[in-house]
């Protein structure tokens, strides 16, 4: 891990000098994770690729603004998430429109989830969620944002964020059962 961080920091340092090879190595290192984040938000291959390209370009150009080279990954992730949210806003997606009828029965037993759920299936199920719930679920459950932060970012109330998260989780539960 230490070795990875050291290498990573060296790459970031080289990127600061505009080293194209270092930029490619950093891209190769982070592209898959960032692409999957973008896919979970946008559920569209081309849009996700556009976001990935835009985010890496932004990151490399604004690298002088990064204070700690060790935080490149989290900084890049923030750029990707912001770009995804902006893309959703551009498509006029608002985050208050989850349908109640899709909410699953929370008392339903989902059995041994750990043993029978394939991560690829779960990933696919998340992508198929309605955009509002999907965004909040991704931010809260996967990217570890607080409901307070989500409310601020999406310009909704904290309780809306909580409610939509629960609903999205319910829909996801139902999808996985099917």
């Amino acid at each position: 891990m230490e070795k990875f961080e050291a290498t990573n920091m060296q790459l970031v340092k080289k990127c600061r000098l505009g080293d194209r090879k270092a930029q490619f190595l950093l891209f190769r290192q982070y592209s898959k994770a960032m692409y999957n984040i973008a896919m979970r938000f946008l559920n569209n291959k081309m849009d996700a690729e556009d976001i990935l390209q835009e985010s890496f370009v932004t990151a490399f150009l604004k690298l002088p603004e990064l204070k700690n080279d060790n935080h490149f990954g989290s900084w890049l992730k923030k750029i990707v998430i912001n770009n995804c949210l902006n893309a959703l806003r551009k498509k006029q997606h608002f985050f208050k429109d989850l349908k109640m009828d899709l909410v699953s029965d929370e008392s339903e037993d989902n059995g041994n989830l750990k043993s029978r759920t394939d991560p690829a299936v779960l990933h696919q199920a998340i992508k198929e969620l309605p955009v509002g719930g999907r965004t909040i679920l991704t931010l809260y459950a996967l990217e570890e944002y607080k409901h307070r932060e989500i409310a601020e970012i999406l310009n909704v109330s904290e309780s809306t964020s909580r409610t939509q998260y629960k609903r999205a989780l319910g829909i996801l539960q139902k999808k996985l059962k099917n």
Binding site: S31, Y35, N36, M39, A48, F56, V57, L122, A141, Q173
Partner: protein, 183 residues
């Protein structure tokens, strides 16, 4: 139940990344954009330098204009240099010539014989000397103190006095001639 799903999501966060991006295609796009940006920033840098040069030239021109304007303001107006401003003794000598000319002109009085060819010739010569005097003063303003110009000016005064005296003599001659015939 839901909390179990939530827990599962958090625990399997890394495993969820199952989509594979077209890395090479995306990298090509990134590289092209970075290259474009580099070119643009190079152009911006050149444009910045060009703008700075223009601004510097403008400031230089303004500065020069200010200096020239100040210099010309500090220069005396045209024909303001007099011999007395150059040297008191020169001024004194000029005054003496001017007084003498004044007295001579008074002695001459009104010119009754301006139509006489000789008197007319002398008057034309005096006018030519006046023009020459103005030119010499202009030269003095442009060049400043110059011995030859100063000598020219004094020479003009002397010639003018000589011509005025000549005109007095000629006038006297004409008058005596008229009287002779009248008597």
């Amino acid at each position: 139940m839901i909390s179990e799903l939530e827990k599962y999501l958090k625990e399997n966060r890394e495993n969820l990344d199952t989509d594979k991006p077209d890395q090479l295609a995306i990298w090509e796009g990134i590289r092209a954009e970075l290259d474009e940006n580099k070119k643009l920033s190079g152009n911006n840098h050149r444009r910045f330098l060009f703008n700075w040069n223009v601004a510097a030239a403008f400031i230089l021109i303004l500065g020069l204009a200010y200096i020239i304007s100040n210099l010309s303001r500090n220069l005396p107006a045209e024909n303001t240099i007099t011999l007395s401003s150059l040297d008191k003794s020169l001024g004194q000598r000029e005054k003496e010539y001017q007084s003498y000319i004044q007295v001579t002109k008074q002695e001459l009085g009104s010119n009754e014989f301006s139509n006489d060819p000789v008197i007319y010739e002398i008057q034309t010569e005096i006018m030519r000397l006046d023009t020459l005097y103005n030119q010499s003063i202009n030269d003095l303003n442009e060049i400043g103190y110059n011995e030859r110009i100063i000598q020219t000016i004094f020479s003009i005064y002397e010639q003018k006095i000589f011509l005025l005296k000549l005109m007095i003599l000629e006038t006297k001659k004409k008058k005596s001639h008229e009287n002779k015939y009248l008597l």
